[in-house]
Symmetry: C2
Subunit: 239 residues, 2 copies
Amino acid sequence: MSIRALAFDVFGTVVDWRSSVTAELKRFGARHGVERDWPAFADAWRAGYSPAMDRVRRGELPWTRIDDLHRGRLVELLADAGITVDDAEIDDLNRAWHRLDPWPDAVAGLTRLKERFVITTLSNGNVSLLTNMAKRAGLPWDCVLSAEIFRHYKPDPETYLGCAEILDVAPSELMMVAAHPSDLRAARDAGLRTGFVFRPAEHGPDRTLRRPAADEFDVLAEDFSDLADRLAAREDFAP
Amino acid sequence: MSIRALAFDVFGTVVDWRSSVTAELKRFGARHGVERDWPAFADAWRAGYSPAMDRVRRGELPWTRIDDLHRGRLVELLADAGITVDDAEIDDLNRAWHRLDPWPDAVAGLTRLKERFVITTLSNGNVSLLTNMAKRAGLPWDCVLSAEIFRHYKPDPETYLGCAEILDVAPSELMMVAAHPSDLRAARDAGLRTGFVFRPAEHGPDRTLRRPAADEFDVLAEDFSDLADRLAAREDFAP
């Protein structure tokens, strides 16, 4: 029953992408003297992410990292919004996804969890994105694993099983931690343990998120501090 | 000319494998009541490493991680030495390579270098080995990259170029740091910058190592603190 490592989803689970990207877009707009509905722009940018990954997952696109998928969508959205800037400006704005701020509990919670478990990212974000983000935000990962390493995007089982294999633990010794039930269901189907963390503000104040059923995942936590408490209380999970 | 990231060889460059493995072997011997020439055993164990990787590099073996190459050699050496122990004991002893102690300057030097550059491993050690080692020794990597990720052992160019690509930097923006000229020559041939760190004690007191020529590599340093000083003094290298 013991758990040796925790693999974290990142966008939405560790970092607040919507507030961070909206703030970057507002600064971008101010610099260029344009006003738009920036929270809606951020949502539209993020909404392009899943369909683009699905094209890679279905083999319609060769392996393409998130930085490039994000950039493709950004170019479309800027065109739709009638905003023209040069390539270097687009590159810089695209790297907003490298500069996301963590949820307030994330660094302290990860630091506690790291005392007991190996903690890694398991994100669809590419390695350089995750590395730059961790460096800026002070996220204390033991290592940085990504869909990019496995050449498969979550929720493909190769990501969860590849993560266990490269950490040299059994799938049942690895807990996927995420704020998204679909990610956790796929991890569970691959034999991993699952920890749900509730991030009700992920999609902003106008979208209400509900908690999953209490018994669907191995642990249900309010934030990373609560996750550390709950894991510490489960002696059967001790590494 | 700027450098954005430093990739570190690990065995011998960051950690003192010979003293650490010898100490583990001595404890193993004491536990089992056997006495052998443990420094020579450690040298023989390490000497099996390059030929085994070469078999993988030539395609005679499928991809095999260092943990398994180390274990194969250990089983041979124990048999040669007439030592019989059970599989769990062999596994534990084999993980001595996860528990190597850093050179005294390593943690403080890396901590300084991390302020200015992205710092990563680029080792033939597998990801779990490097992750466990970093966790135990407090090595503050920004990310953990390994031959295992590129499915090529150094000095294959795929490792150096793969490291630059996954960090999203040009080869010339990445400096390989190693105590071994052969590693640095291969990195240079792939277009990377090179930093030599002198580790005269790597092979113990009876083997004298010489410094390479002063102009062969971009930087020649006595240890990681000296490397941080020398890189800070090179304004042309500033990220």
